[in-house]
């Protein structure tokens, strides 16, 4: 397991990390990552960036999120839903993340994909932070994670707004 620290999201490099695809009403995102944990980190970036302008969000608190699923896509959706729940109930906005995959070698015999995410950020303060979309839910709609020929990963996530 890597010991590196959560890495800060860089809104300046947003275009390299994710883009919004055309959808009649909701937020349909295509996210990229060099590997599966990085894909999940970037999906967290995309989620928070869709809700709050991150430039002025500070790393004042760290939380740990866990999620598992029968596939990488389902585990990713669940992790994002965890992050959304924490935002909705405690106002927690993440601005840095470090994701580990806990299944396979560490849990032989399990078919589940499991992620653990360390996320740093702070409580939403609308006097300092500009808010964007209100995300109602991370849906199962059009949900997909694929591995490309280059070995990089791509995810499609639809946020109900």
């Amino acid at each position: 397991m890597s010991t590196s620290e959560p890495r800060r999201f860089d809104p300046g490099s947003r275009a390299l990390v994710y883009r919004e695809l055309d959808h009649p009403a909701d937020l349909w995102l295509e996210v990229r990552g060099v590997d599966l944990p990085n894909l999940v980190e970037n999906a967290l970036f995309a989620l928070y960036d869709s809700m709050v302008a991150l430039e002025r969000v500070e790393e004042r608190r760290e939380v740990t999120l866990h999620a598992s699923g029968a596939s990488a896509a389902e585990a990713l959706r669940t992790l994002l839903a965890e992050a959304l729940f924490l935002f909705a109930t405690e106002g927690f906005v993440g601005v840095a993340a470090q994701v580990h995959r806990l299944d396979s070698s560490t849990e032989p015999g399990s078919g589940d994909v499991r992620f653990q995410a360390r996320v740093r950020g702070e409580r939403l303060d609308t006097t300092r932070h500009e808010t964007r979309a209100e995300v109602k839910a991370v849906t199962y709609h059009l949900l997909d994670v694929t591995r490309e020929a280059s070995g990089a990963f791509k995810a499609f996530v639809l946020l109900d707004v």
Partner: protein, 490 residues
């Protein structure tokens, strides 16, 4: 018994014109009933390859569907069911599906009348909107205008809905009679609600939210049906207030929880789904009953929420305009749900049936004489409230016998988006949408600049066209048109 042998349909959907406003998709493959789409010729032409047509057809595959899988003229692609979809399922052998209600359970519209004329607030609209913007919590992450609820209080709210809010001092008992279902669905089951939904519900009651939700000051600018307008207490030149919001994070969480439950339940009951987002369970199954119990809690949350926002609005208007409650004369015209599943009795195919009517982006439109229409409106039919975009207009229509015959007493719910959010942002780039609206006589205050761009008037279909389709179909004739003067957006 649930009949499960209905494989998905892979042929492209074709629309056949049945009448001026109705287009039919024949029942082929595994469809148990035909689809029916309400549209004018131009929009029916545009629908050709729209994926929402497949969704209309997919809904027709579900067990126990009665009559038709229906789509209103504001239809667009949704989650499993199309937005603007109506599906009625027999309680005896049919299903209930969270995807047929949507995330924002009992998202709906409340219309308030005042004793003011537009001239009374002329030159004061900016001040009024500023005051409403600060007094009615809105936007991402907003908290309620009241103290965080305790769990027992939230349970009371879930069971009693708007009546709970009235008891807390938010409004009058008379408001309840002018609220669909009296502001509380029966059968609310707080034990069927997850701890997570409780956590999300505790401090959001009394908040507008964001996105397409709004609070709008309007003027009645044209009356089309004098008798109905008089019954509803509406006249030309009068100031009205429209509130559009729902059950906030509480409802979103209930939907999210039960999508997972229903995914497993569909498989357990052997229900073959053409699309997994149509996950459902028999109405009578434990899963179906629990979902309906939790959904009722969320619906009641939304009615309490709109009841509280109405009260906050009244106080705010009095302060902004320096008026007594009596001279403001704020009263509830009506409150409708447009994301909900309800057990209703309808005549269909010569039989009287108990049905679970899913309205997802569709408004109930019960006709004259129906016992659920408030006594003051019973002669003319239920008021139907259809908001348009923030620069154009909203409509008050009325329910009819024809709606009971054609659409299980349902009609459209809004303009429906014409542009995606990304397209809208592109078009709005470099423009000051608030200044454009101000030039057109509409004062707008919004928490998020991006929301304002995404919600700009041209992002929506023409509300006049949408309402016109249902007017010509005889389902929900127009009563009055409301023009926006001031808008609070989350």
């Amino acid at each position: 018994m649930i009949d499960v042998a209905h494989p998905p349909n892979r042929e492209p959907a074709r629309l056949t014109r049945i009448s001026e406003s109705i287009w039919e998709i024949a029942a082929t493959g595994g469809m148990r009933v035909p689809g029916r789409v309400y549209a004018d010729e131009a929009s029916a032409g545009r629908l050709g390859s729209d994926p929402s047509l497949d969704q209309v057809r997919n809904v027709a595959h579900l067990p126990g569907i009665e009559g038709y899988s229906l789509a209103m003229p504001d239809m667009h692609f949704g989650y499993g069911f199309p937005i603007g979809g109506v599906g009625a399922f027999r309680v005896d052998d049919g299903v209930v599906s969270p995807g047929g209600v949507g995330y924002d359970i009992n998202c709906g519209v409340r219309l308030l009348a005042t004793d003011l004329d537009a001239a009374d607030i002329s030159g004061k609209t900016g001040r009024l909107v500023d005051r409403l913007f600060s007094d009615v919590p809105s936007g991402v992450g907003s908290h309620g205008a009241i103290e965080r609820l305790t769990s027992p209080a939230l349970v009371q709210l879930m069971v009693r809905g708007a009546a709970w809010a009235v008891e807390q001092g938010f409004g009058e008992p008379a408001d309840l009679e002018h609220t669909e279902a009296g502001g509380a669905l029966p059968g609310a089951d707080p034990d069927a609600v997850s701890e997570r939904a409780y956590a999300r519900g505790l401090d959001q009651v009394g908040t507008l939210g964001s996105g397409n939700h709004f609070l709008e000051i309007q003027v009645v600018d044209q009356v089309f049906d004098q008798e109905a307008a008089t019954a509803y207490g509406l006249r030309e030149g009068q100031v009205t207030v429209m509130i559009h919001c729902g059950s906030r994070g509480f409802g979103y969480q209930v939907c999210d929880d039960y999508l997972a439950v229903m995914g497993a339940a569909s498989a357990r009951y052997g229900i073959e789904l053409p699309d997994r987002q149509l996950a459902c369970a028999p109405v009578h199954s434990p899963e179906g009953r629990r979902y309906l119990g939790a959904m009722a809690c969320a619906a009641n949350y939304a009615w309490a929420n709109r009841q509280m926002i109405m009260h906050l609005t009244g106080e705010s208007m009095q302060k902004a305009l320096g008026l007594s409650p009596r001279s403001l004369g704020l009263r509830l015209v009506y409150d409708v749900a447009h994301n909900i599943a309800k057990i209703e009795t309808h005549e269909s195919g010569g039989r009287r049936l108990e049905l679970c009517v899913h309205r997802k982006g569709a408004t109930r439109a019960f006709g004259p004489g129906h016992p659920e229409v408030p006594s003051a409106y019973r002669a003319v039919g239920q008021p139907v409230l259809i908001p348009g975009d923030m620069g154009t207009a909203s409509y008050v229509c009325r329910g009819t016998e024809e709606a009971m015959r054609q659409t299980f007493g349902s009609t459209c719910h809004g303009a429906g988006r014409a542009l995606s959010r990304t397209q809208a942002l592109k078009r709005a780039k470099g423009r000051a949408i608030d200044r454009e609206l101000a030039a057109a006589g509409v004062v707008v205050r919004a928490q998020g600049r991006k929301t304002l761009m995404e919600e700009m008037p041209e992002a929506y279909k023409d509300i006049h066209d949408v309402v016109g389709v249902m007017d010509r179909a005889g389902v929900s004739p127009r009563v009055a048109r409301l023009r926006p003067l001031g808008v609070v957006k989350g």
